[in-house]
Point group: C2
Chain length 470, copies 2
C-alpha cells in the first residue's frame, strides 16, 4: 500500500473509530456469539495474492465486530475496566506510526527517558515514597512475577539465577490475592505448596497477626520466608490489605514486600484515598495498572521498585550484540523485565496525564466512587438484595437474597447474571465471597454516567423479579 | 476530549504519520542526542490541570522526535528489523479504538478465534507440521521462557509447579543462541550453571555430535537432560542449527526441543528457504516474530506448540472470578502465556497477511535476500574488507581488514561503526564472531531499496578510507 492509500484508509478508519465511540451504546455489551461462530465465517487458509483493504475492512465490520465484547461500553460493569480514551488512542496511533522499539536507551533515547519521567510523574501523583523508580510492564501479572523473582534472588543472595532454586523459599499472600500470584510462584520455581494462604477478616483483608504467625511457624520449622504480597483492591471485592502492619512485619522478618494495587492504585490520585498507601515506606515493589482505571490503552502496567539494582541483577544479560557505548550512563529497560523488545508505551501515558492533568483524573475517579456509593445505597434499600463487601472504589459486590437456601440463591444469581449478559444491555461478572455466589458491579468505564448506573440497577431488579416469579 | 475533537486531532495525526513515512529519509537514522538530553527538556512534575492537545503534539514533534531512532528508516541496517507497514498501522488503529481485551474467549470471542485462525494461517505459510497450535506472545524472549517452563514441567511430571524445582534439570544450546535463553533459564529456575553451551562449527551452527556427547555425559553423571534450544538464524550471524540431527538426538534422549527462529522464521514463506525447517517433525515448540521481518508492528511473536496441554498445564489458573460458562468449549489464551490480559494483536497480523498475501510476503523476503547477496559481493570484491559468516537471509557480517593486528582492527571497525551511526546516514550494529569485532549489516526494512544498500556500501567504504588515512 502506498502512502496516499494509507492516508485515505487511515482517515476512513479515524472516522469509523470516532463513530464507533459515539455510537457505542448501540452495540450489545457482551458479544452475542457462540463458540466457533466467528472462525467458521473465515477462510481456512491465507490468500495467495493480496486482497484490497476495502474487503478486509468490510470483513472487520461484518464478521469480526459482532464477536467483540465492548470493553469501552458505558454499561461495561464486568471485571475491572480496561479503559482507553481519545487521548490514549492518539498516543497509540503515533506509537504505531513511528514503530520505535525501546529495548535499550540507544534504540530510541526518547522512549527510555520519557518512560523514566512519566513513571516519576505517576509516583508523585499517587504520593508514593520519593526515590522509588518505575518501569512500564505489560500487565500486573508480569510485574508481580518480576517482584517474586527479585525476592527470590535477594533471599538467596543472587545464587538462584546461577544454581537454580535448591531450597524452599516461602511466600505469603491472602486467599483473596489475584491468581497471578499463584502463577508467578509456579513460574519462579517457589512451588505452590510454598505459598502460604493467610486468613482474611470480614472485609476480606489480610489479618496481619496471621501473617506473622505463619512466618514464625515457618522459621521455627527451619524454612526461609522470602516474600509477602499485599493487595490494595482485590479482584473479588476490592478489599484493602492493611499495609502498615504488614509492612512492619515484613521489615521485622526481612521479607520482600510486593504490593499489588493493579486496580485501586489509580484511586490514590485523590488525596482522600491515600489511606490505602499508609505504610508505603515499607514496600519493596508496587504495581498498578494505568490501563485499568487511568484511561490509558491496554497494555500499560506501572511497576515501581525501591532497589532497581535488585531488579536489574535479576534480569540483566550482556550479549555482545546488545552492548552500546553509553551503557554505563543510561537505563536500558530491557534489563528491567522479561521481554527484550519494548513498545514505546510511555507516549500514550504521557498524552493521558498531560491531557487530563491531575485534576481531570481526580474528577474521573471521584465520579465513579460517587456512582458506586449511589448503587450501593439502592441495593441496601431493596429488601431482596444485599451488599456483600465494603464499597471503597468503583466495585459493588452484591446479590439477590430473599432468604432461600444458599443453593437456590446461587442458582438464581447465576441465572440473573447470564440473562443480563445475554441481553446485551449490561455486562456483569461474578465471584464467590465466603462461599456465596456474588455479583460484581464495576463502575469504571470512561463513558459511564449516572443514567447508565440507574438503568443497570433497573435492569437487574426487574430481571430478578422475573426469575423468581417464573 | 469530546468525539469531535478526537476526530479532528486523529485526522491531523494521520496526515502527520503519512508525511513521516513519506519523508523518513530526512531524519537521521540513529537519534543524535546525549543521555539525559530529552528528559531535561520536560517538566519534573505532571501538570495540575489538563493541557491542550496542540501543545502536547507540538512537544512530541519538537522534543520527543529528535530522541527517536527511526527503525522504519530505509537505511536502518542495525539489529534485526522491527518493521511496521501501513496495513499493520491500520490494524493497530482499530485495535486501539475498540480497546478490547482478549484474556478469555468470552471477553472478546473474535479476538481469540481470529488469533487461533491467523496462527493456523502462519503455520501453513511457513510449512510447519500439521497439528501445531499457535498463540501470539509479546516477544520471542517470553515465548522461549514459556518453552523452558513447559519443558521443566514435563521433565518433572508437572511436579515443579507444585513443589518448586528441587533437582537440577539440564538445558542445551549453542554459544550463539540468543541471550533470552540464558535469561529464561535463570527465570525458570534451572540455574545458569545447568545450561550447557554446545560448540559451533565454522558457520556458527551447533555441532549435533557435541550435543549428544554432552547429553550422554550428563546422563552418565546422573543428571537429567530436559531441553535443547536450536536456533534458525542466530542474532550474531543468522547461523542455522541443523534441525534434523538435533531433533533426532532430542527424540532419542527424550528432550524437549524448542526452536528459536525469531528472525529467520519469516524466510520460510519462500519454499526455497524451507530447508531450514527440515526435521520440523521433531520439535516441541517453535517461535518466530512477525514483528521482525513480516511487516507487523512490534509486538507480535508467533509461538507454536505440539502439545498445547503441556503449555496449559504449565500456566493455567482457575480463580472463581475468571470462570465462564463456556470454558470447556473454548480456548482461553490467558492460560497459554504469562500475562493475564491480552491485546487483540491478531487483528494487525490478519491485516498484513491478507493485504500482502503469500506472494506479496515472498516478494518482500526475496528482495532482501537478493540485496544481501549483492552487498556481500561488494564486500568480497574489495581487498580491504572481508565477509565473516555465510549470508543466508538479510544479514551480512563483515569488517574492514587490511591485515593489521586484531587489536587495531577492532579499534578501526569500532570507530567506523560509531562514525557512521553518529553521521545519521545509516544505522549499523556489531557483534563478535570467533573473537573478531564484526559489523552487522541487516537488510530488512520495508522501505529499503537497492539504492539504499548501494549508498550504505559507499558510505562504509569511504568512511573506512578516511579512518585509515587519517
Amino acid at each position: 500500500m502506498d502512502n496516499e492509500s494509507f492516508r485515505r484508509y487511515a482517515h476512513e478508519f479515524v472516522d469509523w473509530i470516532a463513530d464507533y465511540l459515539e455510537n457505542i451504546e448501540r452495540y450489545p455489551v457482551m458479544a452475542q456469539v457462540k463458540p466457533g461462530e466467528i472462525r467458521s465465517k473465515l477462510p481456512l487458509s491465507p490468500p495467495q495474492s493480496g486482497e484490497p483493504m476495502e474487503r478486509i475492512f468490510s470483513d472487520f465490520k461484518d464478521i469480526i465486530l459482532p464477536g467483540i465484547t465492548h470493553w469501552q461500553h458505558p454499561a461495561w460493569h464486568a471485571y475491572f475496566p480496561a479503559n482507553n480514551s481519545p487521548e490514549s488512542i492518539l498516543g497509540e496511533m503515533l506509537m504505531a506510526g513511528i514503530g520505535a522499539q525501546g529495548m535499550s536507551w540507544l534504540t530510541s533515547p526518547a522512549a527510555t527517558e520519557l518512560e523514566d519521567l512519566v513513571m516519576e510523574w505517576l509516583r508523585q501523583m499517587l504520593g508514593l515514597p520519593a526515590g522509588l523508580q518505575g518501569v512500564i510492564q505489560d500487565t500486573a501479572s508480569t510485574a508481580t512475577l518480576a517482584a517474586l523473582l527479585s525476592a527470590r534472588e535477594r533471599a538467596t543472595n543472587y545464587a538462584s539465577n546461577e544454581e537454580g532454586l535448591r531450597r524452599p523459599l516461602i511466600a505469603y499472600a491472602s486467599g483473596e490475592t489475584h491468581s497471578s500470584i499463584e502463577k508467578g510462584i509456579k513460574i519462579a520455581g517457589y512451588g505452590r505448596r510454598n505459598l502460604r494462604v493467610i486468613e482474611t477478616d470480614a472485609a476480606f483483608a489480610m489479618v496481619p497477626a496471621k501473617l506473622e504467625e505463619a512466618i514464625r511457624s515457618d522459621k521455627a520449622a527451619g524454612l526461609q520466608p522470602a516474600v509477602a504480597v499485599a493487595t490494595l483492591g482485590t479482584t473479588s471485592s476490592a478489599a484493602v490489605d492493611p499495609l502498615r502492619p504488614i509492612g512492619e512485619i515484613c521489615a521485622r522478618h526481612g521479607l520482600w514486600l510486593h504490593v499489588d494495587a493493579a486496580y485501586a492504585g489509580t484511586a490514590a490520585v485523590c488525596p482522600e484515598n491515600r489511606w490505602i498507601l499508609d505504610g508505603a515506606e515499607h514496600f519493596d515493589s508496587f504495581v498498578f495498572n494505568p490501563h485499568k482505571w487511568m484511561l490509558t490503552n491496554f497494555d500499560c502496567s506501572a511497576y515501581f521498585v525501591k532497589d532497581p539494582g535488585a531488579l536489574i541483577r535479576t534480569f540483566e544479560i550482556h550479549p555482545e550484540y546488545l552492548k552500546t557505548g553509553v551503557d554505563p550512563y543510561v537505563k536500558n529497560f530491557r534489563d528491567w523485565g522479561i521481554p527484550l523488545g519494548r513498545r514505546f508505551r510511555a507516549l500514550k501515558l504521557w498524552f493521558v496525564v498531560r491531557s487530563y492533568g491531575i485534576e481531570g483524573l481526580q474528577v474521573f475517579v471521584r465520579e465513579h466512587q460517587r456512582l458506586a456509593q449511589l448503587f450501593k445505597g439502592w441495593v441496601e434499600s431493596e429488601t431482596n438484595f444485599e451488599v456483600l463487601a465494603p464499597v471503597r472504589f468503583g466495585l459493588v459486590c452484591f446479590r439477590f437474597n430473599d432468604g432461600r437456601s444458599e443453593e437456590e440463591l446461587t442458582k438464581i444469581n447465576k441465572v440473573l447474571m447470564n440473562r443480563l449478559n445475554a441481553s446485551g444491555t449490561i455486562g456483569l461478572t461474578h465471584t464467590v465471597l465466603s462461599g456465596k455466589f456474588t455479583l460484581r458491579m464495576v463502575i469504571g468505564s470512561r463513558l459511564t454516567e449516572e443514567r447508565h448506573v440507574r438503568r443497570a440497577w433497573e435492569l437487574i431488579r426487574s430481571a430478578a423479579l422475573k426469575i423468581i416469579s417464573a
